[in-house]
Symmetry: C2
Subunit: 407 residues, 2 copies
């Protein structure tokens, strides 16, 4: 299942980026499961990674390699992504496997191994099938092309039902600047720093420290504001590559324009993940305002977003405002005056003054719940901070997917 | 569904306690939904209540009435419990309804209204059907009897599939002391201070401050150590009544014996709730040790217990240790060295040194997962604090119950 239709966009080439894929048979035969992204020399690369303490071997290696490049004043030249196997919970052997993959791609691309960043997604705890993976690498490298976006978006999927991509073009000083992003993920999603895997590239010219800062704040408003099931993956990563072949982003106006475009890309990918969440039948926007701090607003939003009772009511199209109220009431908010709280479902006021709003009717609530896209607005009445979080419902299909699939 | 069989015990009378029930037709016809518990004068009564900010009208009123009794040097004489309607999210009108119920029972019992403590459970946000409830009160009062335990246990259920009761007898200074407890609850369970509704009585003689202290610490190890779905109800309450007709509990040995018996009652009721959790097919014990603090152990245990991916794997009888590892890894633990963590499923070592244990086989893991009762032991390797938490799995049936039932 998935909510709405989001056709994969026609993605233009990004000067300095080529993509190639292969079918390595990592978990299944006859599906693209290996992706190589080639980056022109001297690009700026920023990344954010999972905060899961049991983070996967490729996450360790990617972070180490980025640090080495930075120390040497060079920049990464290849991203190597496999699906079907997360190379997580694999201990020392997993680290060695991730390094070996980098070495082999480095040999084929004639670069230093530290210039290769590895990413894996799929089953936790199985050793990477190194023979099959390494054997398919030359094919992926041979396929490198600047129009490989859709194949690459396909090649990183796991339980996703559709590829996720977005492209945005802006003009800076009369020069076109393009941003392309692809992502994967539909379960084990509460990134808490980046989603499962997302790769965003641009031809703009931006120094690394700025790129890193802009990615960090963009991720907070996008991938860190979504949740499917409160589970943070061991492999989450979001990479942002600026090849520097196009316009230089400098000056307040240009920076603002570029950052808006970047946020648009990140939010689009994050929302595409939620629309394709495991078993999702609803796309739910939780808008919390009038909080004392943004953290407080996030605490309330995520408490509601994670509530199995709210999520099953959404699945049932049941305007069960009592469950929303109960979830808000158990959020970790100090000195909470519930009489000031107002909760709206779409345009329908559900709750005020500590109970059901006087004008509320079951019919009005049910009409909103019947929609595929639902907004729940929670005003706390205690400040002026707020946040927006996106989530999905909890369906029979979610249970089936996760009871059947070995992730 | 429910895990295992737990026959309702033959519960002896408690001197100073009588119970009566009636069918008020609050939500459904022809089921016991109204329970009156009469307490002899001069009993000690202690209670713990939900911390949900949107707590229900009866919770406010019960707390107020207990405070009034304490100020006046009297003690509560009646508990009035209804199922089918939580009287939560009902604002001022709900408070008035709860007070009116107390007034009517006080009139029938010829006591002060502040000596009646009201409790409600069921649908949130609907007004209490006062006419039907008040009309049935005389019948419940007329039925008061010291052998009404099973009917009372039946009369407080909602989505529970079976009544929950326990009785423990000990001897203090040659005198028998009895503790009887009943409880209800199977969803919206992460009490965070007391379960849905639990009523424990004893004929022992204990001053109120001590009773309160012993209840508080017993609840922490029992009702505050279970979770079905992380949702804390608006109506949770646990009452402990000591009628004082029997032995006086004094002196270290007697106190220890009584507190052990009290903990046994509370833990039995808490475990009965988990065995009867909505859609449960598994009874899962999470044993976390070698933590720096008990809070840290609880954080890890509840992170695993709430993980939808762990819960669906349990439902599928899938020894998916990667999901347990991923959940442990995202627990809020500072400076977490995952190489020291060991995870056992029953007697089978799953994880050590940051990955799958060398001797682990899928067959051994699957054999444990096939059981109805499963223990997961997580040793953090960083201290000597620990905790035990009980939980259930996440099944299709859980989604069905909560997508169909208006709680």
């Amino acid at each position: 299942m998935a909510v709405g239709t989001v056709p994969f966009p026609a993605m233009p080439a990004i000067d300095g980026i080529r993509l190639g894929t292969a079918m390595a048979g990592i978990k299944q035969a006859n599906r693209r499961d290996l992706v190589v992204v080639e980056i022109a020399p001297d690009a700026s690369v920023a990344g954010t990674f999972t905060r899961n303490a049991f983070c996967a071997a490729p996450v360790h290696v990617a972070k180490d390699h980025m640090a080495i490049c930075q120390t040497r004043g060079t920049s990464p030249r290849y991203l190597l992504i496999n699906t079907g196997n997360a190379n997580a919970g694999t201990g020392i052997a997993g680290r060695r496997d991730a390094e070996s993959c980098c070495q082999e791609l480095a040999r084929l691309g004639e670069v230093d191994p530290a210039m290769v960043l590895p990413f894996s997604t799929g089953v936790i705890g199985e050793p990477l099938p190194m023979d099959r993976l390494l054997a398919a690498l030359p094919e992926a490298v041979g396929a490198l092309d600047d129009n490989g976006w859709q194949q690459a978006a396909d090649g990183i999927l796991t339980t996703d039902t559709r590829p996720k991509g977005v492209t945005v073009s802006i003009e800076i000083d009369g020069q076109p600047v393009t941003l392309n992003g692809i992502a994967k993920g539909s379960g084990m999603i509460q990134p808490d720093m980046a989603t499962m895997l997302a790769f965003v590239t641009t031809d703009a010219c931006i120094e690394q420290p700025r790129l890193s800062e802009w990615l960090g704040s963009g991720v907070q408003r996008s991938f860190n504001s979504i949740t499917v099931d409160s589970d943070t993956s061991t492999n989450d990563a979001c990479l942002l590559v600026a090849t520097g072949r196009g316009a230089r982003i400098d000056g307040d106006a240009a920076i603002q324009r570029f950052r808006n475009a970047l946020d648009e890309v990140l939010i689009s990918l994050a929302q595409q993940i939620i629309r394709d969440a495991e078993g999702a039948t609803k796309f739910v926007t939780l808008d919390v305002s009038e909080a004392r701090t943004e953290q407080e607003a996030r605490d309330v939003a995520f408490t509601v977003a994670h509530s199995p009772l709210v999520k099953t009511a959404l699945y049932a199209c049941d305007a069960n405002w009592g469950r929303i109220l109960a979830a808000v009431g158990r959020a970790p908010v100090e000195a909470f005056d519930v009489d000031l709280v107002r909760i709206d479902l779409g345009d329908v006021r559900l709750v005020e003054k500590g109970g059901r709003a006087p004008g509320y009717t079951e019919e009005a609530g049910s009409a909103v719940m019947a929609e595929e896209e639902i907004t729940i607005r929670i005003r706390l009445g205690r400040g002026d901070a707020g946040t927006t979080v996106w989530t999905s419902d909890l369906s029979h299909e979610y249970v089936s997917i996760n009871a059947d699939y070995r992730s």
